[in-house]
């Protein structure tokens, strides 16, 4: 299966700071998604981004498919951004997940 590596594994931020999360994958993909796991364990869709750049509020993501990586940007972080961020890819159906990046935003 496709290997997915996320970095860093843990990230501690002061409220208001910006950060970048990275996802590397080992093969060509049809699907790349970023999720935020909230404190209740739910996986919230952030981006469906097999290629290109998207923005949603303070979050944005870029996928460079030819180089097999994706970046998730969090700007002006808030305490509600805390949680685990997962990258997942598929070619084309079953998703392979990374281990996640645990983000802690301190007030």
């Amino acid at each position: 299966g496709i290997q997915v590596e996320q970095s860093p594994p843990d990230l501690i931020l002061q409220e208001g700071a910006n950060s970048t999360l990275r996802c590397n994958f080992s093969d060509s993909v049809n699907n790349l998604q970023w999720f935020h796991q909230n404190p209740w364990g739910q996986l919230i869709n952030l981006f469906y981004i097999p290629s290109g750049t998207k923005q949603n509020g303070r979050l944005s993501a870029t996928t460079v498919a030819t180089e097999r990586y994706s970046l998730l940007y969090i700007s002006s972080s808030q305490t509600t951004d805390s949680g685990v961020y997962f990258c997942a890819v598929s070619a084309p159906y079953k998703l392979s997940f990374g281990a996640g990046t645990t983000v802690t935003v301190r007030a």
């Binding site: 699907n31 364990g41 079953k94 998703l95």
Partner: protein, 114 residues
């Protein structure tokens, strides 16, 4: 539009017992998937339905797990008999047909086997 729903949200059973998890996908989504996360490990794929047919069940751990999708609508995942290592969170997801691959996840069922 209602999202993916799962029932129950939490189940506690004893080793050797049977548990059935249910998933209702987003209306109109032909593709339905089961995933699970055990013991803090990575989320792993279990199987994929297209309508009522199993497209890929390569992630099913053993024959104690049985998944069905009645009439191409809701799906059930039965574990019989349950073992301690089956404890974890079981997620269901669904996606549209026709080359749109974005998957939407349900809230998960937390299974605890004691």
């Amino acid at each position: 539009e209602a999202g993916v729903t799962q029932f129950p949200s939490h189940s506690v059973i004893e080793k050797g017992q049977t548990v059935t998890l249910r998933c209702d996908p987003i209306s109109g989504h032909d593709n339905l998937y089961w995933y699970r996360r055990v013991m803090g490990k990575e989320i792993k794929f279990l199987l994929h339905f297209v309508k009522e047919s199993k497209q890929d069940e390569s992630g099913m751990p053993n024959n104690r797990f049985l998944a069905e999708r009645t009439g191409g609508t809701y799906s059930t995942l039965k574990v019989q008999p349950a073992e301690l290592e089956d404890s974890g969170v079981y997620f269901c997801a669904s996606s549209q047909a026709g080359g749109i691959y974005e998957q939407y996840f349900g809230p998960g069922t937390r299974l605890t086997v004691t």
